[in-house]
Amino acid sequence: MTRASLSGGPDGSVRAAGAVAVPTSAARSSRWRSATARRLTFGYLLLAPAALYVLLLVGAPFLFSLWLAVSDANVGEPVAHFVGLENFRSAWEMDTFWIAMRNSVVFLVVAAIFKSLLGTSLAFLLLQDFKGKKIVRGLVVIPFTLPVAISVLSWKWMYDSQFSVINWVLSRIGVIGGYGSESWPVWLGQPGLALLSCIAVNVWRTFPFSAIVLLAGFTAVPLEVLDAAKVDGCSFFQRFRNIVVPMIFPILMIGFLFDTVFTLSDLSVVYLLTQGGPGNASKILPVLAYQIGIQAGNLGRGAAIALFLVPLLLPAMILVLRNIKRREW
């Protein structure tokens, strides 16, 4: 409280100062505006490179693919014409499109389940103290860091119908018969097995990523909180569900988002292993889009098929981002 307020009004000096120095509302607003504007300009300047990067590398190609999807663009034609939703309609009418759509969903869900289970288990294992922990932590990311072509071609050999090392081991331990017998699995040749084999390679390649993301989250949980819960008698699963998961939820969600995008857009594994065969049994949307868009040259229809991935991805993205935002408040 000032003396002026105590005495019931401004003293003479203040009055005088007021008469001379109190700014008008326009000046006040201009000063405020200029300070805020400066701060905002600076903020936007800092943001600009990132915004430009996103606009150029994500926004522009996305808009271009939207244009391709509604045009009759062809790899050899310099001029494309607007055809409305024709490409989407033609994809909709394709038998193979629906098989690819179904396989993409199966691929995504099954891979996500296995990656969560294996990633969580691996993250917990890597949390423990043991000799050579740092080396092991380095080694587990190898599948993720290896060039996809090399690792997938190695798997192709392991799945070979005649020289499969997996079958050889299974045969030696008596689980299956010898080469040529009924029980000899043809990993990439039986419809159900072909898709599962592709999923297995995708899981093998990317579950270390899930583990690393989770590990980063786990190490951020304060030990005191966990110790206190332990003292209160919480079991391992209670601690995990009621303490760890809520605390690392934003990290979990970001990991889930990345994983969904990586899995749905994974063209290489299926293309290199089966090209979508046998008889489209392992065909997924990215492979179909590539075959129609690039190999057969119909950019418009290829883009339309690829854009069908957006409705699959969008709900997951909205769900994740909304959850994260809600928790921030």
Partner: protein, 445 residues
């Protein structure tokens, strides 16, 4: 301002554009003729760089010879720096799309198996002059060569070579079981049935790979089936012959194969033969060469057979075509044309270096005895193939709808579905539906 519309008669007899085009063609033709006579390229290409993109050949020694000797020597002789890049054949269409979009890249680009002339011809250099001159010089082209590179009467590509897929069979196993050589598909089936019981099944890819596209077409066409008519516009797949071929393939699978064929890629049958298990395969001679290099005992007993005849005695060998193209955006079109001329004139050396893998489109080069294969008693049968060679879309040309049919593996999928036990009529309904959908889409476009 006159309201009278311009008519053709009012236009000058020779426009500036016509004059430039005619004089350019004349100059190019004249320099080509001079060059053909002198067997030497003109001086204006000196100091330039020619960039070539092609596949990694299945016979690696061919690439070594092509890059370090053939192209280099031509370059040294003509003062042109030649750079040859190799990528896997399956990546060629994507690379072509990328170069087209960028409007930059190599001067000469190869198409392997999937021939994209009709898709890109507006962006490709018209090399009809080279095509015609080399054809004249070397005794003409085999009939199936033209449709691969011709659009609206002009040639936008240069046929390089094609790859045959003959029968490769184990003579020792056939003789030991009193089986006749697989000269017909029926004899091949009998052999497969007999030898599968003795641990030596056969195999053809029931999967989505290039060999599956080629092999099942050979069977279908030899059974009298067809994909499209000579115009390439009308589908002929819905026929009694297609049904017969599907029925035969189902029997061949049930009696003579194991389910592993559903997982095979282009190299699986090579390994299958080389391992000593397979009694016969229908594949390129790279399988024969692989066996020679990895299992001499099996190789000693492996014979090459003529394309098996269908029930009516017809033999059609669907082969993998390979074509060179020159981009219109190429800054070194003249050198590209001259290199192709040199390639066409010296084709026989390529046959030698590829150990008989590269087959000639030019009749002069197809005369007996052909290099390598003419001198090898086991391979000499390959000299009988040129008249029965066909490509995708037979008897029609390799059009863009056929290209999509091929890239989506519609035909191998029809055979796969039948082998897996699906009813033939249901499969026909699906397959014909796919052909019609693809053709009608292209017609609309």
């Amino acid at each position: 301002m006159s309201d009278t519309p311009h008519t053709l008669t009012e236009r000058p007899a020779t426009s500036r554009r016509h004059f430039l085009r005619a004089s350019g063609t004349g100059l190019a033709g004249a320099s080509l003729l001079t060059m053909l006579d002198a067997k030497k390229a003109p001086a204006q290409i000196k100091g330039t760089t020619l960039r070539i993109l092609q596949w990694s050949h299945f016979i690696p020694a061919y690439d070594a010879w092509f890059d370090n000797k053939f192209a280099k020597e031509w370059g040294d002789k003509n003062g042109v720096k030649v750079r040859v890049d190799h990528i896997p054949h399956l990546e060629l269409p994507a690379r072509m799309a990328a170069e087209y979009a960028a409007g930059a890249g190599h001067d000469i680009i190869m198409n392997g198996s999937s021939i994209l002339t009709r898709l890109y011809y507006k962006s490709l250099l018209d090399i009809s002059d080279v095509y015609e001159k080399i054809g004249k010089e070397r005794g003409g082209w085999i009939p199936s060569a033209g449709p691969l590179v011709t659009v609206e009467g002009r040639q936008y590509g240069f046929p390089m070579f094609y790859i045959l897929l003959p029968m490769l069979y184990r003579k020792d196993l056939f003789d030991a079981n009193n089986l006749k050589a697989p000269d017909t598909w029926e004899l091949a089936r009998v052999a497969a049935r007999t030898l599968k019981a003795k641990g030596h099944p056969t195999g053809i890819q029931f999967s989505q790979c290039a060999d599956a596209n080629l092999n099942w077409r050979s069977l279908l066409f030899s059974f009298g089936g067809a994909e499209a008519d000579a115009s390439g516009n009308n589908i002929l797949i819905d026929s009694k012959e297609t049904r017969e071929a599907l029925k035969f393939a189902k029997a061949l699978f049930d009696e003579g194969m194991t389910p592993e064929v559903f997982s095979w890629d282009d190299a699986s049958d090579n390994r299958f033969l080389a391992s000593g298990v397979g009694c016969w395969i229908h594949d390129a001679i790279s399988a024969y060469r692989t066996t020679e290099d990895t299992n001499p005992n099996v190789f000693k007993n492996t014979m090459i057979g003529l394309e098996p005849a269908g029930p009516g005695g017809k033999r059609v060998s669907t082969s993998a075509a390979n074509v060179y193209m020159v981009w219109k955006f190429s800054k070194n079109q003249q050198a590209a044309k001259e290199f192709l001329t040199h390639f066409g004139l010296e084709f026989k050396e390529g046959m030698v270096q590829s150990r008989g893998y590269n087959m000639p489109y030019l009749l002069g080069d197809a005369k007996k005895p052909m290099p390598v294969i003419g001198a090898d008693p086991k391979m000499s049968i390959l000299q009988e193939f040129p008249p029965m060679v066909a490509f995708y879309g037979y008897p029609g040309p390799f059009t863009t709808p056929i290209q999509e049919v091929v890239n989506l593996f519609v035909l191998p999928d029809m055979f796969t579905r039948v082998a897996r036990g699906q009813n033939i009529e249901e499969v026909m309904k699906w397959g014909v539906g796919e052909y019609r959908r693809i053709f009608s889409k292209h017609k609309t476009a």
